[in-house]
């Protein structure tokens, strides 16, 4: 599986670098280095396919936590939560998103509601004080812009 994916990636890169310009008077333009790397990657992918075929294992194995609910929801909530942050942080602001995400994450991983909300608020305030106030990182305020302090 991995091997096939690598071969596909290598082919895509090789096709893409064909469009890179030549350097006048030189043998090695910008396409050379990625081209060599992609060729190597494709070779490794083929070797992995061969060794995988020899072992005759299943094509794809799922890790065992996939069948247990708390770890599965946990991993899903981490990935979806980070995506949500990327999409929503600028509009809603760091503080709202931070508290919401922490509450959900702690809850999903097995904390009580009360502990989740308390930790979420304290941690967000601490990060605000240390990063926004002390280190002057412009964390977005979003909806709370008017109440910025």
């Amino acid at each position: 599986m991995t091997g096939a994916a690598l071969v596909a990636l290598a082919a895509a890169i090789l096709w893409h670098v064909q469009g890179f310009p030549e350097m006048p008077g030189q043998r090695f333009g910008p396409a050379w280095f990625p081209g060599v790397l992609a060729t190597g990657l494709g070779g490794c992918g083929l070797l992995l396919i061969v060794s995988g075929a020899r072992e005759r294992g299943p094509w794809l194995t799922l890790p065992d936590w996939f069948r247990r609910s708390r770890p599965l929801f946990g991993v899903a909530s981490v990935i979806l939560g980070l995506l949500f942050y990327v999409l929503a942080a600028d509009k809603l602001g760091f503080h709202l998103v931070g508290v919401a995400l922490l509450t959900i994450w702690i809850r999903v991983l097995g904390g009580s509601w009360r502990a989740a909300v308390a930790v979420a608020i304290v941690a967000t305030v601490l990060i605000h004080l240390s990063f926004y106030k002390l280190l002057r990182i412009p964390l977005p305020w979003g909806l709370l812009e008017r109440y910025a302090f």
């Binding site: 690598l6 060794s51 936590w65 280190l135 412009p138």
Partner: protein
């Protein structure tokens, strides 16, 4: 100059930073699932706003503490706190079960300090001497040096070199993204302005070392931690006797650890595995290994801490990281204007000597703080994981955002966190990829420059004596797996 360096270190602000990062490092090291590399990646956004010396000091201190603190849960939970303790986790736990937990923790602490000081001594003596030689290096030598470093990471101590090569090539490809190549041509940017500057390393590192660990921790959140009971009184009892009895193993562990640290791509965890194996091989009582015998802990415990300092030798002199921690450090050095390279010992001598002093100070500080960590181990290990993981994750978000004040950093962090998680789950090591990302630009640039200087003649690559020697070393590293394979077939 030494006096000026001392003044830099003894500044109350710097001492405060050292103390704070020490506590941070002990905590991160003691909690299984949080590693020394992760501590470094999380420290970077905080060090952004510090002067060079306290910034580097915080990383040096936190990692030295974390590598020792990894021994604590090994003894009490049979879980290594950091991968560097994994080699002797079973041994340490067996000792605790036999009622020798105090001895195991004491040995871990005392010989960590000795190993750390040994590695520091080598760093202080070897790095400036090596820099003298390296001053005369040209692109030919640098090219071979980078190749040698990359190959070491793949072929030494890896069970499956093929997967290591894949990881390395992926890392090198990541380094290709952006405008920063000899031709100045925007590669793989797809018209995106964020990609034109290249992929910023720090969010990638936070993703690969912190987010992937959190994913792994969350996937195993169901597994309970069971703490073994240990009576802990005076951890120094019997240490002098151990030092006298195991003089040779301590020295051997420290020396091997430092050497492995110097080799690019191999760090404290591999040093501990190799030293543990060496210790068993040369021991007078190899049959006792695995049943709760302190000898392996003495040697491997010294080894993993000495590897930390050893890894700084190539990082400072050539800008080639000796392990994944120094891969991050090199980025910090550039940000702070302390560009690694042989001339750093002349241009920034005061700062470098101050950093050396911090190494000594951090290892000495490990003694009192290590005892405090051992005493409070039970409270430390009771930190609720279901709250800890989310808070660290939010910290990661802010850290990746802070580098460029752009949410694109969070995208990078998530993407590379997932990639690293899938790589490790499928047996692809992450360290070669990191090395590839750090060294990719350097490799291409020196190759092109060498080609221009040699008028496109490949012979020029081996005409200078040192370059030829390095090329021979590259061939030897390449021949190693073939030779090992042939030997195995003969048997």
């Amino acid at each position: 100059m030494l006096f000026e360096a001392l003044k830099l270190v003894l500044d109350p602000y710097v001492l405060g930073v050292i103390l704070g990062s020490a506590v941070f490092g002990l905590f991160v090291g003691a909690v299984p699932g949080l590693t020394a590399t992760m501590a470094t990646a999380l420290l970077v956004p905080v060090t952004f706003f510090m002067e060079p010396v306290p910034a580097i000091a915080s990383i040096v201190t936190a990692t030295a503490m974390a590598i020792f603190a990894g021994d604590i849960p090994s003894c009490l939970l049979r879980m290594p706190g950091t991968p560097a303790s994994a080699a002797y986790t079973d041994e340490a736990y067996a000792m605790t079960r036999k009622g020798q937990g105090e001895l195991a923790l004491g040995a871990g602490l005392v010989f960590s300090v000795i190993g750390g000081l040994f590695g520091t001594a080598v760093l202080i003596l070897a790095a400036p001497a090596l820099a003298e030689v390296a001053l005369r290096f040209s692109s030919f030598e640098y090219f071979w040096l980078v190749v040698l470093g990359l190959l070491c990471a793949v072929f030494i101590a890896l069970a499956n070199p093929l997967k290591g090569v894949v990881s390395l090539l992926l890392g090198l490809l990541v380094a290709c993204v952006g405008l920063d190549n000899p031709a100045g041509f925007p590669r793989f940017t797809f018209g995106n302005a964020e990609l034109a500057g290249g992929l910023t390393l720090i969010p990638i590192m936070i993703g690969m070392f912190a987010v992937s660990e959190i994913l792994r921790g969350v996937a195993r959140i169901d597994e309970p931690w069971e703490m073994a009971r240990a009576q802990i009184g005076n951890v120094f009892r019997g240490m002098w006797g151990l030092t006298l009895r195991y003089k040779v193993p301590v020295l051997r562990g420290s020396a091997l650890g430092t050497a492995i640290g110097v080799l690019p791509g191999a760090g404290a965890d591999i040093a501990a595995w190799m030293s543990y194996a060496v210790s068993k091989k040369f021991s007078k009582e190899p049959e006792k290994f695995g049943t709760g015998h302190v000898e392996g802990i003495v040697e491997a415990g010294a080894s993993n801490n000495s590897a930390l300092a050893g890894a700084w030798v190539p990082a400072l002199v050539f800008g080639i990281p000796g392990d994944s921690i120094t891969a991050i450090v090199i980025g910090v050095l550039y940000i702070k204007g302390l560009n690694p390279g042989p001339s750093i010992f002349m241009e920034n001598a005061t700062a470098i000597y101050a950093i050396f002093m911090v190494f000594i100070l951090a290892n000495l500080l490990l003694l009192p703080l290590g005892i405090a960590a051992i005493k409070s181990a039970k409270q430390l290990l009771r930190a609720p994981r279901h709250a800890l993981m989310p808070v660290i994750l939010l910290f990661c978000i802010v850290g990746s955002f802070a580098i460029n004040n752009s949410v694109f950093g969070v995208v990078l962090m998530l993407a590379f966190g997932l990639i690293a998680y899938f790589m490790e789950e499928n047996g692809f090591p992450v360290a070669p990829a990191i090395l590839g990302m750090v060294l990719g630009a350097m490799l291409e640039e020196h190759f092109i420059r060498a080609m221009i200087r040699g008028d496109g003649e490949l012979v020029a690559f081996v005409q200078r004596p040192i370059a030829a020697g390095l090329a021979a070393a590259v061939l030897m590293v390449l021949a190693w797996p073939v030779a090992a394979w042939l030997l195995r077939r003969k048997r």
